[in-house]
Every structure is written in C-alpha cells, then in structure tokens.
Symmetry: C2
Subunit: 218 residues, 2 copies
C-alpha cells in the first residue's frame, strides 16, 4: 500500500510526538509542502517531492532542499491553487497514493488551517476524502461520504466531534453517547465532544454532504 | 459602549499578549466560559458572569469561581447549546453588549475551534455577526454580511484571508493584492494570504452568505 505523508508548514509544537499516522500502515513516501520540505530534511527524511514557492526560506535553506529533493515543483502564489491543493493532487495522481496523511496543517494562521480542512469539500477531491487523514498532537480528522458509515473508536482519543463541511441532509448519529436525530442544515455545525460507547463503532448516515469526524483528546 | 469579553477554555499559549481587543474600546465586562472563569480570576479579573458545567475543575477551583462570580450559570452537556453559544447569547441579550470579543477560542481541540468559528453562521446569531471578533495571538477574525462591506487594514497584521462560512453567491474582492471575480459556491473556500494595498480598505460584495475575514501574521 502506498501511504503518502504530506508535511505542511504549520507550527512544529502541534505535530504529533512521532510522525506516524493513524492509518495502520507505515508512510512510504513523503511530500514536503513549502517549509515542510526543510523540516523533513531536518528529521533526516528525504521527501520524494517538494511543492511551494519557497519564499519563506533563506537561500541556504532553499539550496538544501533543492539539492536533496529530486522532484522540485515551483508554485506561483498568484495562481488559484494553494500549495496544499497542489500537493494533495500530486499525491493521489502522480504518486498514485492509496492513503494520504497530512501533518503540519493546524495551528498558526487560521486561514491556512481552513484551506487544509476545506480541501476535502472541493468536488474534485471528493473521491479521495475517505483516504485522507489530518493529524496533529491533539486531533485526528477523517472524512466521510454518504450514505452511511461506521466510525470506529481509537484508543488514544476520548472525544469525537462531527462537523458538516458542506450543506447536509438527513444526518443522524447512532450508537454514541449523544445520538442525533435526522438533521439538515445549509450552514456548518460542529457537534463537539461526542463519545464512543465502549468499543462499538458510531453509525452515521446522511444523504448528501461531507462529514468530518474529529477525534480529539484533552 | 458596552464591550463584553468572553474568555473560553482554549490553550493559554495562543492568547494574545494582552487581553485587549481589536475593537477600539476597552472591555467593560468579562464573561468566563467554563475553565475561562478561573483563568480570568487568576489574572485578577472578576467576570460578571460564568457559564459552564465546570466538570474540568477540581472542587477548590470551582469553589473559587463560585465564591467570586455573582451570576453563575450551570449548563447541561446533554443540551443542544454549547457553552460558547450560551455565553454569546447571554452577552448580547442579558448583558446588552454592543460588541463582543472572544478569547481562548482557538488551538487545542479542533471540534471546539469549529464550534466557535461557526457560531456566527447560525441564523439566530446573524444579526450579531458584525459586532463579534475572535482574537488569538496570531489571528483576528471579523464577520461580514451582504451586500457590500469595506474591510479596513490593521497595522499589526500583514495578511487577510476571506472564507465563506456558508454557501455564497456573487462574492467579489476588490482593491486587494489578489482580486476575486464574482464567485459562487455551495461549499466553503478559504482564500488565504491576501494583502491590503497600502492603507486602502478592501471592498467585498456578495449577495448571500456570511464571510469571515481572518487577519493574520506569521
């Protein structure tokens, strides 16, 4: 299985302790997004690809990345696609990833966080949504498509919150501490702080939209 | 002018250096939300109201809050309203706030962050949206309603990102480094990293939806 890790430029203190993913398979290829490439090299990880405009790096840092990474891609800030969009697309299309885990996507600037969170709401990425995780030290985000899904408990996380990234209809939550009767909304809602009932999976159903499950711990 | 500060329970290291708001008026009343009440007391600020289930506090902490705060409100976790929803409503309806600035709303658990960010997308809070700010050490969020608004530069922040919290139609950005031609979307998009042109305000227009402007700095 090809499991690609994307390292973005978010604050380092929010990374998980170890750069492992929740997906139960080792990361086989890393992609560095802008300053994330340098961070990977600093951890002795050589990304197979780097994407960015690299304008936050001093020349020596940039040279180090250019020397180490074979597949360097240069983005243009004026273009519509952000670096994280380009990286996600390259991971699935060029690297043929089966699964992608995204690190360094949270903290710091909230406009960046929302770019990353909302990637999966874009129609062009929808088919990939079930194969993407966003990971930081306190949170793990997975994405779900209609009509029905099982959300499995993970021992490291006490809470699970559900959010509709897009308008949602007939959304129900069953087999959870706080069940939800069928719900429809044109605007986003964050049903925070739900909990699993022992080791049973939570059942969610919905007829349109995309739901993110945010596992978290205090 | 009555300017209410809400102190939520997010990680302290993301608070701004000083508990002042971007709104150019001193905070006249504080409301502590759950653990936020204790934090205010630790800074010698006595909130006029505290809201929460307080279950994250040890008894001594809870007694300290109950002793100091006259208007104690006890929320029930099973209820639909979150503590931050209750606090926002109380600030405008019971305390008759003209403006509300929210601190401690970011970082930590992402399901909590999204509850706070998406408060303003709720129809019942819409009328208050232009009078609310979310503040942390790197970000300041303001909310805008149709049809047209001026977004003014703030010297402390280099960047401004625009996000549609709800479906948006005819959204345009003018007089900015990256203008946006009329855009419509049913799903959320984060136009990150825009910049002001000198001290001119950015002009945004849209015919429905709610837009958040996220001012940020590196």
């Amino acid at each position: 299985m090809k499991h690609v890790g994307l390292m973005l430029g978010g604050p380092e203190d929010l990374w998980p302790d170890q750069l492992v993913s929740d997906i139960d398979a080792p990361i086989t290829d890393w992609v560095g997004v802008d300053r994330g490439s340098l961070r990977l090299l600093q951890q002795d990880v050589v990304p197979v690809m780097a994407i960015g405009d690299y304008d936050s790096m001093v020349p020596a840092e940039r040279h180090r990345v250019e020397h180490a990474v074979k597949d360097m891609r240069y983005s243009v800030p004026e273009k519509d696609d952000t670096d994280s969009e380009l990286a996600l697309q390259a991971a699935f299309e060029d690297l043929r990833a089966d699964e992608v885990s995204i690190f360094g996507a949270t903290g710091g600037r909230l406009d960046h966080l929302l770019v990353n969170l909302w990637l999966m709401a874009e129609p062009r990425f929808k088919e990939y949504a079930p194969h993407v995780a966003i990971v930081d030290r306190q949170n793990l985000i997975r994405f779900f498509l209609p009509p029905a899904q099982l959300v499995f408990p993970r021992t490291e996380y006490k809470y699970v919150g559900f959010v509709n990234l897009t308008p949602v209809t007939d959304f129900t939550i069953r087999n959870a501490k706080y069940p939800l009767a069928p719900f429809a909304s044109d605007y986003p809602v964050s049903w925070a702080s739900n909990e699993f009932l022992g080791d049973q999976p939570i059942q969610i159903t919905f007829s349109k939209g995309i739901i993110a499950a945010i596992y978290s711990k205090d």
